[in-house]
Symmetry: C2
Subunit: 410 residues, 2 copies
């Protein structure tokens, strides 16, 4: 095994830093780490609603902000929280230093609003890390090669934290949030949902991409790539176990379905009478990608007389852009008709034990049918089954599936 560093790496989310009172509580928790003789690298999000307030000001000015200016603006939220947290640590006698993404040497790709971390200059960071003290790093941000500020997309602070843990060769990255861990399903919808003690990277990735908001999918990928255990913990109740996300789930092996995730709102676009010719999918999805539209579930029907139907889902706020992009290519692709439905949602059952076990799919469909839920589309991966259903049916589907797969509190 490689040598692992003794630096604690943790991240606090925006709801854990909502007010100066919250910041004081977080400072108290960090000061305990330093009192134990350890150093800490702490990544912070912006305080509570700060980012939303900044975005609201932008929308008062323009619907099409430049990515560069947008990132320069949004990055200030994390600088504010990092400086305030550092002050609250000083008050407790802890040596602390706040660093912006640029100051922390977090180099990213050039893509504004959705940059990827390319490199972190750890030597510079370690030089500034005080013994038994901490560095407070503004999450969600970095700089491109022009020294322009970039951001990593919403939830990007998770990625900052796990990438720092990887670069510092720490074995664990703690993600502190306002819930007790990763739940079997959203406890706001399903009161019987319970926190998972552990879950694999692959399962967590499927969950994160199908609606589990607790962790950013790219953070999970970085954890997987660098073998960093991600420990999701509660800021409010730090004594509770939380959830370990790691190479393989050691506990609860017998449970094959691990969680039910959902998206309350997705929009569906159906293209009818498409010429079924080679390369048509590329011709269709390239303009969508150029328009910045990320496509989720894609279903293509079997070809009948050289014609086929193709259906895919997008987030509802991108429906208009998606339809525009499709219509530009309508003649080229020989699309007869474009049909949209904005009032759909998804429910997914995730679990690595589901591989090669068709019984899970059957049980999912039976459960939904018994709950009078109509299934609009189905897509699957090795460890996930997703059903597209009507928006209004999402909540009852989650509750029913949580029970059917025995994922509730015992």
């Amino acid at each position: 095994m490689s040598q692992r560093s003794q630096v604690r790496v943790r991240k606090y989310g925006g709801s854990s830093l909502a007010t100066t009172g919250h910041i004081e509580r977080v400072a108290e928790q960090i000061s305990q780490v330093c009192a134990d003789g350890l150093s800490a690298v702490v990544v912070v999000s912006a305080m509570g609603a700060t980012t939303d307030q900044l975005v609201a000001m932008v929308s008062e000015i323009t619907d099409h902000p430049s990515g560069r200016e947008y990132d320069a603006l949004l990055s200030t939220g994390e600088i504010v929280s990092s400086a305030l947290l550092s002050m609250a640590l000083h008050k407790r006698g802890v040596e602390a230093l706040s660093l912006s993404g640029a100051q922390a040497g977090i180099k990213t790709t050039a893509m504004f609003r959705d940059a990827r971390i390319e490199n972190i200059d750890i030597r510079k960071l370690l030089e500034r890390l005080p013994d038994r003290g901490c560095l407070i790093i503004a999450g969600f941000q970095g700089v491109n090669e022009n020294q322009d500020t970039t951001t990593l997309g919403r939830g990007g602070s998770d990625t900052t934290a796990v990438a720092l843990a990887a670069a510092l060769n720490a074995d664990t990255c703690e993600i502190f949030t306002d819930v007790a861990g990763v739940y079997t399903s959203d406890p706001r919808i399903c009161p019987l949902a319970r926190p998972l003690l552990d879950i694999s990277y692959d399962e967590m990735l499927e969950m994160a991409t199908t609606g589990a908001g607790v962790l950013h999918p790219r953070a999970v990928e970085v954890g997987q790539d660098y073998d960093v255990t991600i420990h999701v913990r509660s800021t409010i109740d730090p004594e509770s176990a939380g959830t370990l996300i790691r190479k393989e789930a050691l506990m609860e092996k017998e449970r094959k379905a691990r969680a039910v995730t959902h998206q309350l709102k997705v929009a569906k676009i159906t293209l009818r009478g498409l010429e079924d010719q080679p390369g048509i999918a590329a011709k269709l999805f390239e303009p969508l990608s150029d328009a910045g539209v990320s496509v989720d579930t894609i279903v293509q029907n079997a070809s009948v007389e050289g014609k086929t139907d193709l259906t895919f889902t997008v987030t509802p706020n991108l429906l208009e852009e998606a339809v525009e992009a499709v219509k530009v290519a309508q003649t080229t692709l020989g699309i007869a008709e474009v049909i949209t439905n904005p009032d759909l949602g998804t429910v997914s059952v995730v679990g690595s034990g589901m591989t090669n076990s068709p019984g899970y799919a059957a049980r999912m469909f039976r459960t939904l049918t018994d709950s009078d839920v109509n299934i609009d589309m189905i897509s699957t991966s090795d460890i996930r089954i997703t059903c597209v259903v009507r928006s209004e049916d999402v909540e009852k589907s989650v509750v029913a599936l949580n029970a059917a797969f025995d994922l509730g509190i015992d």
Copy 2:
């Protein structure tokens, strides 16, 4: 004459950028400059009350914030306004780029909260300046040699703007504010006060250090050192003439008293029974300087039997620190008694024509006496007479002096 650059350099203050609506108006004004075929370098302050809100959060956490963290925090306000203004310019088809102090290459001394600009990397700036477009620079900030963010002290955006004009070899720096220029006295107190068409650097310096809030004294010094004319103009009424601050006042030469300035609140400290020995002033004021207390008017009485009294004024919020610093040195200096009075203010008459004209002092004292204002202390420079009076007498003193020196609207 040296060759002067064709770049327009201007600064907009916080009240001119208070809301996104204000930012739109400023963008409209700048777009006119670019429509005229010029490029612009625009320095911005933080929006309206932003800085006060950040300071309020600090005071919820600590009374003694680290200067480094304080500056990191406060610098975000100007980054926000620069990014939003840049977006508002894009909307009008103007090429614009926002830059933080660090990105603009503004290098400062290491002193947090009150750093001095040492150097600006103009080559890098000019490389990024779009033709007929503009750079929007976050004012009030820079970086020290550790790449830590520093701030220039309140009002520092003025200094940023004038320093940029000097570095870019521009002949004028426009300071846009919410008043019509530099007034003969504060129009909120004296409705008959009128804007000055021009005034010399020396006069403006005396005014700025004795209470005229419209311009930061260091900005005036930089303007003087690099022969940059500072043009104070109204954002609300950009057609009005404003005030030119330059080497010598060309207009209104015959008027020797130019303005009346005031400070509503100063505190006085009197040290009685001081040993009158060489070097005693240094011994006294060094500990004050070390405690960060800036001393204004100083008056020392003639020595009687080897003892003297020494009186000086400080801003009221520093009174406590000042008294503590003095008491530490009390025995060494042989101070018999320390007396304080926190309820004083100042009125000053400023004008370069006053040199060697004792008649001005006499007229000032007579005017105050006729207004039943008791004069507590007097200090003078070549071009200024300052009287320390009771706080409650400041406003009527300003009105009376404005009239006595014929500084009102004709």
